[in-house]
């Protein structure tokens, strides 16, 4: 094991470059998948005709496939039908679709958990269905969704490492190149990468705890 060699200034900078890509991909996908998840979740909760059925098939199809397959599909199958995506776009698209399907179930669950009496109260005080959803059900449901949503976002951040399969220059990919320079760099490099993933994800969950207590 060669800690000094593995942790040279150049190697550390190289790992930070990888972390930067990881964070960009993760945060873009978190925002997009949350939006997608909310839309699908609400559509299915409100049982919007046709859209609700399409969403059902989409969610069942996507969440029962491995993410690795979806990433590979975006990178190598889409160009076959004329859609060419960059490496980063392919990774973000795959993560958005996959995590969006997961999140839609969290959203639907959160909304369903709101007591029926709340809806009846909203409707009988003269609000329309949409108004009831927006002012009464969503605020209460969202609060309950925070813990499972954060778990899902943490999963998403870790799942970005699967994009190593398409050679996206994220954290794990750059770690692999450093390890390529010397077998005795393997353990020091992987330890550091583990620490980086842990720190980022732990910060994310601390942040969510704050959010929960503030909203409670």
């Amino acid at each position: 094991m060669d800690f000094a060699g593995a942790y040279s200034a150049d190697n550390l900078k190289f790992l930070l470059d990888g972390l930067y890509v990881t964070l960009i991909v993760a945060f873009t996908a978190i925002i997009l998948s949350f939006l997608l998840g909310c839309i699908i979740g609400v559509v299915r909760y409100a049982k919007v005709p046709v859209l609700s059925q399409i969403s059902f098939v989409f969610v069942e199809l996507i969440r029962n496939l491995p993410l690795l397959l979806i990433i590979f599909f975006m990178r190598f199958a889409l160009p076959e039908v004329g859609i060419k995506l960059g490496l980063m776009t392919a990774a973000i698209a795959a993560l958005t679709i996959f995590e969006g399907a997961m999140i839609s179930e969290i959203v639907r669950g959160g909304l369903t958990s709101v007591d029926k009496g709340q809806i009846e109260a909203g409707r009988s005080s003269g609000l329309t269905g949409v108004q009831t959803l927006w002012h009464i059900v969503l605020p209460q449901g969202l609060r309950r969704m925070v813990p499972p949503l954060v778990s899902q976002f943490i999963s998403l951040l870790k799942d970005t490492s699967l994009a190593v399969i398409i050679s996206l220059a994220e954290l794990m990919h750059n770690a692999g190149i450093i390890i390529g320079h010397g077998y005795n760099y393997t353990i020091p490099t992987l330890l550091l990468v583990a620490l980086i993933y842990f720190t980022v994800n732990y910060l994310l969950s601390v942040l969510s705890k704050r959010l929960e207590t503030k909203n409670a």
């Binding site: 150049d10 190697n11 900078k13 190289f14 059925q53 399409i54 059902f56 098939v57 069942e60 199809l61 990178r75 190598f76 199958a77 160009p79 076959e80 039908v81 004329g82 399969i165 398409i166 050679s167 750059n174 692999g176 190149i177 450093i178 390890i179 390529g180 320079h181 010397g182 077998y183 005795n184 393997t186």
Partner: protein, 275 residues
């Protein structure tokens, strides 16, 4: 419940048909592109740049340097020579990262003109791509501590202990070549190399291209003897791209006759190629 099952299966079948339909159209379009010479010599010249798929994480062959961002190695020097032959400029080249899993899809997608990435020529792969002549003759060999009595396969007897990687063909090969030899198998090459350093075995065996990489990391170790298996590395191009194969083979022949090949070989491997 029953209704939703029915609905799900109907929609899945519809989705599959739509996907299959798209796939067919796409394949046809892709096929005609390839026939028009997507990765052909004319296309490369028109582009003015050779797009080559190389490894970014393999010591001696294709390895990215974190400080300079440059990719360096035997495969890269060979690629530059090909760019010089086709375009007259060794820097008219774009290196794209490939792995063992992505190199054939990327080649057939037309993203790269050729794969120069420690790719062994096999009958199986010949069904999918066309190969150039052998550009690097790899084979299984032995790594020992300098000054070891082991000078080659002949010095390995049934009393020797050989280190290898779990479940690899190299372990199977050494057991066939030296019946009764003790083989200690490790999860990865790093563990096997550590075991060799701590004296747990007489030699470490795997492909010499990997062993040379280990020797480059620790000068107290060396690769001994001739390779005793045949792992010919070839440069892969899209099937039917005979012009490009010819250009590559011409380059390799020039490199060999001018002595440039031996220079590149020595620069990375540390010794002259076996004749």
């Amino acid at each position: 419940m029953k209704k939703s099952w029915k609905l799900l299966s109907v929609m899945m079948v519809v989705a599959l048909f739509i996907l299959a339909g798209c796939g067919n159209n796409g394949n046809n379009a892709g096929g005609s592109n390839a026939a028009a010479g997507e990765g052909g010599l004319a296309a490369i010249k028109e582009r003015g740049k050779l797009q080559v798929g190389v490894k970014f994480d393999t010591k001696l062959f294709g390895l990215k340097d974190p400080s300079s961002g440059q990719v360096e190695g035997f495969d890269i020097d060979i690629s530059k020579a090909i760019a010089k032959h086709i375009l007259g400029d060794e820097n008219a080249i774009e290196l794209k990262e490939v792995t063992s899993k992505t190199r054939i899809p990327m080649l057939n997608n037309g993203e790269i003109d050729m794969v120069v990435a420690t790719m062994t020529i096999t009958e199986e792969r010949k069904k999918e791509v066309d190969f150039s002549d052998v550009y690097f003759q790899a084979g299984q060999s032995l790594l020992v501590k300098k000054g070891s009595p082991v000078k080659g396969l002949a010095d390995i007897t049934k009393d020797s202990t050989v280190l290898g990687s779990k479940g690899s063909t190299s372990v199977k090969n050494i057991k066939e070549k030296v019946p009764g030899v003790t083989v200690l198998e490790f999860d990865n090459y790093q563990d096997a190399f550590t075991a060799l350093k701590t004296g747990k075995g007489d030699a470490l065996t795997t492909d010499d291209s990997i062993l040379y990489g280990m020797a480059a990391q620790d000068p107290n170790y060396e690769v001994v003897g001739e390779p005793f298996t045949d792992e010919p590395y070839g440069i892969a191009v899209q099937k039917g791209n005979s012009e490009v194969v010819k250009a590559i083979n011409d380059t390799l022949a020039e490199l060999k006759s001018s002595g440039e090949y031996d220079k590149i070989y020595e620069k990375w491997i540390g010794k002259a190629p076996a004749k």
